[in-house]
Symmetry: C3
Subunit: 670 residues, 3 copies
């Protein structure tokens, strides 16, 4: 998060679309915002058609009025550029802006997130609009940040994208021979002799299902091309804004673990991270936390903006259950617990038409403050006012990290064999959850990040070891670090080409094992192993391995490979490298990871009962511990040192048995 | 049904395609028809290619022969216009006649119901053919009615339809500004500045699944446009026939609750209603009855023609089980019990090729009268001869009505949120079934129908209150009527725009409640409430409401809204308005609706055991009660007054305990 | 299999792609092949792009080197023509080579098996390449056979195919009137007046699902056209090779029961049969055997080549489990037991890129001989060397045959009604399995094959009786044969037109029954009958039949047809004809078929415990009995005569109780 003298508390507000309403209602909105403690609005998210009614005309009149209104009411503004849905006239006049689907069908005007990222029309007019907005509103006091486009996503397979893909490949590989090598085109006689022979990988060429391709290398490069292509759109708008407002703070709203876009690459171009958090009621709280930690991790631990969350219901789930009383508040504080310095909603006032009209809002269709949801919003608004800047800019301190990588994610889920149930995030979550639900502070980092600040680094399913990743891990372990990885790791290079000579490839020396075979288990089949005196299940994949210096911690109990190792530990330099050769159940990971943490003398933030989450953020030599009771019942925990509750003002001695109500929250300063 | 001096008994016959057979076999058909008591054939349903072999040529020779044949054998004829499948040559020569699919793919020649309703070619030649048929056969004594096209249905997304959609919109809305308002296009920047910017809503524009759209307003208008477009085709053919035969009785065969076409609108253009009844063996009998009652209801209670049913099996189900012995007869009488004055089959003789060759027929592939099915048909044929005109033109008398509306149906099932399991007919059927299976006479009516003739009107899921619907209901209740509706009612206007100010919108005063929130329950979750001393389940949606004058009849027992109302009763004027804030099980609706009927002093037609259906039709001051035993075992019931069995001639005293065999039928005249 | 003086043992090798590797590695391959007892390689399967880098250029340099290498190392070669994947440049330059999908979408370059069989470009260049290969390598001593294309399959719906379809129809039917008759186009007014009006049956015309069509006759003819079109491609390449190498032995690798291609027709054009065997671990061994027996049967019982099998895992299943220890050897011998004279693998060395990189290979990514899989391969290699020519050219002797027919298969699974669960192979397998798992020798034959050499012929689901099939059966039974068929038989002629006059049509006199109706049972419903003192279930379809001379062997126990016949026996001439009017469970078929065999005095090859398979192949007056223990435990059986174990050299007396280890194999010569 950026430091800004205009901001001295956690921002509170969200997407506001007064252009959907008659002006009479605007003043009522202002009254209600004040009641609710709202101090921010995100404006202009979907107004392109209104701002540019034709090729040569721009009309900012209404937006001027809206800016005057919110400024007069002391609201801060994230100003969006409106480029996530092009005008209908533009689609008609310049069909190059329309996307072509994975199926090969050319789209027509409709929906949103509908522009081809390589469309010259889109590139021209989106940048022009961003610039005009910067020129017109860049000087406004109320504008504290810029919000480009909205939830970038999707992909395009049009002819123009095909041409751009060839350009991208030429830049990346230089020669067609290098392309052939990277894609291993001698297989199935795919040799390309000319750039123009290359076509986009979709259902009409290499794919037979969205995630099933005959050439992983091509599909993988398309994913990179697609993510980078959208990033270029973002960068171009950002540059246009910066050309007018050099110190503009620019972001776009991300979506947590969103597979199509490599957010670790995107983060480098973003001034601050913002994201939209839309969990389902039944998601484990640690699954939400994993998204937050990713969003903090991609920008080196900087605080972020929670750009969107729903105050009550979503509308696009199959079953849109209400957020239970207290849950909106609980999840807002959870965001802050993991690094949020702003808590914003989608949306301020409920629209009356189209597909989001049943999505929750601060001001519901009834239009008054007399609703449960409004009351909960107001309560939180007051608390955030009272909290002030106590947590603004505060940072986490983790000794453990989980390493994730988009290329790796893409490559794993394109793999033809050994099992269709290989899902990267499932595996990552098993390890993350084991740490998070035991209240160990954990960062989520990428392969370009420094490992040296951590003591325990876990890289689940590190299938692809690109660049010097193996060497970074090697040095990290040599110097005393604990490294953990799993089955199906070390298999391929950055082109998804197998590293021959024995799995797990470049990690083999670090782990001290050779994996000869991998047995894929059908969904209903299990093997077992004993660990820590407990019988643990082995599922999905069972690696058959040989010890090459490592020590066996557990062995299979069944099938023809009964008695062979499944979990190993290798002493390597001053550190240790662990290999988990199968997928087990959550209980196993809990035990296993706790042992690794204890070996390194790392303590949890708080020892607390199941369902009680605790994190700590540090600032100016002080720590604020967030304690969040996700349970439906009240619970108790013991404070290990004296702390002051920032919400109630109450002062607790060390050793106090504290009671926290169901869905309750404490911010405890030391 | 029309009065016609030529008809003095329930018509008995069906679709007959002698053009598929050598002429040698025709005389054998006549012999078998006579044996079976057949007195009607529906001719010429799929003969366009034969009648018009090329652009400028017509050939009626074979049809002349067929007409001579059936006339000579004293058969009456519904003459079809053959326009449900265009000739192959026409598709080749005039591709504008081919439909474009929802996916955006242009179709080629094949299948049936394949013509674009906006195709100039189709419009020209279908009307021309209808006219030629009228000219040639209009004077024939045997022709008692006209059957246009066949089972109109489907939809088209071709360029021409797109242009016509714009024309239709211009007629409806006048200005593009009105369109923008109706569709709430300020949302997601969808503002249209020119009619030509509008595209059809399909998978290439606003939809992401057939029933999932980003702009409900657009999709809803497309449904209207599509239904009206096909209706125009019907009207144009009808006008052509009438221009030659002014007193022609014209129909097309409908399909019960067929979602794509607004039959309530269609009925206005039809001289009489005919429909095709194809239940599955496992359908509840009341589900079949609901279709019949709709078909009677859309034409103000007039008797209808059962245009098609299978004598034995269908061929297009996954598992085409035989109709059990007696069931064809039972279901034929059930049709009559609900208003049918004709009982017709598809088909008279089984075809030997293509996709319907395993569909049951009066004359099976074996070609003789020595089959179980033929024997059952003959028995029924004799009974209908004996019955004569006793039921012809007889009318039902219901004090209860269920209100259904196509716009409402469409809008509900396009809704993004709160639950994907909101299915209009499921809800309608819960209420209908509660009445029907307790043998209460019930009409199914539309929003344009008069409510005053009823005492209890139920409008389940009255999501959309268009036009003066709310005012009609208000007056109805004020004057003493009982009105019942459910959750997710009163939410939107005719454009699917939310009526702000609190749910259930315009019904709020009538119902005396305010619904603040609605909680969508996943499929496996239930809440509960006590009603009539019984624990009833609440599922799907749970409304959280406040009483504003209404009285709580039941409250939730679980979750954070335990203790808040779920069923309410509001005294309004001289009447009462009930709100059922959730979906419950059939047992609840049975209790609840019986209470409503008893409150109004309405009695069932007959108190009878489970599975025994009873309706009554009235004519010339007399009533014929149909008693239908859908059970697999014989059953008994008590007659409340003296009645004569029209099939056996037996006279029963009032109070007689009557035994009815399994699948048995009685027509009891008073 | 061909006799070839160069071959004196079971060939052992497989697909080898050295072009994917640097030359340094080739010598290592040779060393490992020798270690493993490999004596064959299949070369050049996917090298078109390498061999023909542009329209006018051919480059055989690398292939020359490879040929030199393998020749120098004494390896025999199946030389492939590389035409299963066209070059990218060809797709770009000649888009006519690209297929159009069933959906109507035109494909782009990608994947394999991607050429339109009617493409002039494909036809020209595939034949030219085959010829050039023949010219260059035809004289090579090492080339023992030619492998055209690879796993022919799929289909195309492009405009050119549409034109060719019309040509094909014209050749077949002569006049458009005959087409109309064959397709019964008077149904739904489909009459064609000109060839050009005919379009291909796909999702844009007659189909609404891949296997659901409105005109079975059209779809059936398309299937024939498609199979024959690909066969023509095969024939054209074969002719090109033969024009250069007149005595070339030519094959293509088939895929067992592969529905799209009529292999019985194909076999006539193949010098020898080769096929690819890729069972799943959980397949019953008799299901694998059924494929082998088909592959032997389509070429009149001649031995075949097992062209591909995986040494360990596949990569394209959802869950690619390892072949358990011993299973590769067991299944290799099973292939030989059913007629294989060669045991080949896909593949010799694992590729490092693209979609088959995790498919098992003789040489795995680790690149050494020190793997479980390599050790198992070497053991089998040694055994085959030791076995020599003992089984080469040996033939089976079966008295029982199962009759299968592709037209029949296609027609059944296009049928609209009576049940979607009618699956031809399911039914065939029930009967086949009953014989095979009791170790009765059985041939799988076609309708053109001679029945006279058999005593028991079973034709499950003989829905279509084309040509003189009924007369062949009639004569067969008259002369004393036992004939067995099932429900849904005798229904249609070769155009899928129903044979009127009563089911089962032309089989009615032979079977002595009339089937009046067929009741389709939903998946969860069962009827029952007593057979052999056991209660057997009836499912799927229940025929309701009348005896016309036949004797009832069992009758239904439930439903309204309880007491009517379900299994019948008819004495006809000197033989007997059996009808099984429903689908039952495997136990029933086991009993029923054993009785039929015993009636004819036919004995199994060996009486052995469950899971022990036995077949015998005969040569030079001697028999080699294969005994295969598919169980996971050792088992015992009793030898009925003196036999010598060809693998161990051990001599057993008649009556010996022999122990066979789990997954064990014996080849016992008498």
């Amino acid at each position: 998060m950026f430091q800004d003298s205009r901001i001295n508390k956690v921002l509170y507000g969200g997407d506001y679309n007064p252009e959907q309403w008659p002006e009479e209602i605007w003043e009522e909105d202002m009254r209600l915002f004040k009641l609710a403690g709202i101090d921010e609005v995100t404006l202009n998210v979907f107004s392109w058609a209104a701002l540019q009614p034709s090729e040569d005309t721009y009309n900012f009149e209404k937006l001027d009025k809206i800016m005057d209104l919110v400024e007069a009411n002391g609201l801060k503004v994230f100003l969006a550029t409106s480029t996530a849905a092009h005008p209908a006239w533009m689609a008609k006049r310049h069909p190059d802006i329309l996307r072509t689907e994975f199926s090969g069908m050319k789209r027509k005007f409709g929906s949103r997130h509908n522009s081809c990222q390589n469309s010259p029309t889109y590139q021209k007019y989106s940048v022009l609009l961003a610039k005009k907005l910067a020129e017109r509103y860049g000087e406004r006091e109320c504008v504290i940040g810029w919000h480009i486009c909205n939830e970038y996503g999707g992909e395009c397979y049009c002819e123009n994208c095909e041409k751009q893909f060839r350009v991208w490949l030429k830049e990346k590989y230089g020669t067609i021979e290098e392309v052939n090598k990277a894609w291993d085109t001698s297989f199935w006689g795919h040799t390309f002799y000319d750039w123009d022979e290359i076509v986009l990988p979709n259902m009409l060429s290499e794919h037979f299902e969205p995630d099933r391709t005959t050439f992983q290398g091509i599909s993988l490069d398309y994913r990179r091309f697609n993510s980078e292509g959208m990033l270029k759109c973002y960068q171009a708008e950002a540059a246009a804004i910066r050309s007018v407002v050099p110190d503009a703070k620019i972001t776009t709203n991300l979506m947590g673990f969103y597979k199509p876009l490599d957010y670790q690459m995107w983060a480098k171009s973003m001034d601050f991270i913002s994201w939209d958090n839309y969990p389902a009621n039944e998601d484990p709280y640690s699954r939400i936390a994993m998204n937050h930690d990713l969003m903090r991790g991609i920008k080196g631990g900087q605080p972020f903006v929670l750009m969107e969350q729903t105050p009550s219901v979503t509308n696009w789930l199959a079953y849109n259950a209400l957020k239970r009383p207290g849950v909106m508040r609980l999840w807002s504080y959870q965001a802050m617990a993991h690094g949020a310095d702003a808590v914003l909603f989608f949306q301020m006032r409920c629209s009356i038409g189209a597909c989001e009209k049943y999505h929750g809002a601060v001001i519901d269709h009834v239009g008054t403050e007399n609703t449960r949801v409004f009351r909960e919003i107001s309560q939180l608004g007051k608390e955030l006012q009272q909290l002030g800047d106590k947590t603004l800019g505060a940072r986490s301190r983790a000794k453990a990290a989980i390493l994730v990588d988009w290329d790796n994610w893409w490559a794993i889920e394109y793999s033809a064999g050994p099992s269709r149930d290989l899902k990267y995030l499932d595996e990552v979550f098993l390890y993350y959850r084991a740490l998070e639900e035991q209240n160990y502070a954990v960062d989520i980092i990428g392969v370009e990040d420094d490992l040296e600040q951590y003591e325990v680094v876990t890289a689940p399913l590190l299938y692809m070891t690109k660049g010097n990743t193996d060497e970074k891990i090697r040095q990290f372990v040599k110097k005393g670090g604990t490294f953990i990885t799993s089955y199906f790791s070390g298999i391929v290079d950055e082109h998804d080409l197998v590293i021959t000579g024995g799995y797990p490839g470049k990690l083999r020396d670090i782990l001290g094992i050779w994996v000869e075979e991998s047995d894929a288990l059908p969904r209903d089949k299990r093997n077992h192993f004993m660990y820590g005196g407990v019988s643990c299940e082995a599922s999905l994949l069972c690696d058959l391995m040989h010890l090459e210096g490592a020590r066996e911690l557990a062995s299979y109990e069944e099938d023809f490979y009964a008695g062979t190792p499944v979990i190993t530990e290798n002493s390597f330099g001053a550190g240790k490298a662990y290999y988990v050769g199968t997928r087990s159940s959550q209980e196993f990971y809990r035990m296993f990871m706790r042992e690794r943490m204890e070996e390194k003398g790392i303590s949890p933030v708080l020892e607390a009962p199941e369902g009680v989450e605790a994190t700590e953020r540090f600032k100016d030599g002080k720590g604020v511990m967030f304690v969040l009771n996700h349970n439906d019942e009240e619970t108790v925990f013991v404070l290990n040192e004296a702390r002051k509750d920032l919400l109630t003002g109450e002062q607790y001695e060390g050793g106090t048995v504290v009671t926290l109500e169901a869905k309750g929250v404490m911010l405890l300063e030391n």
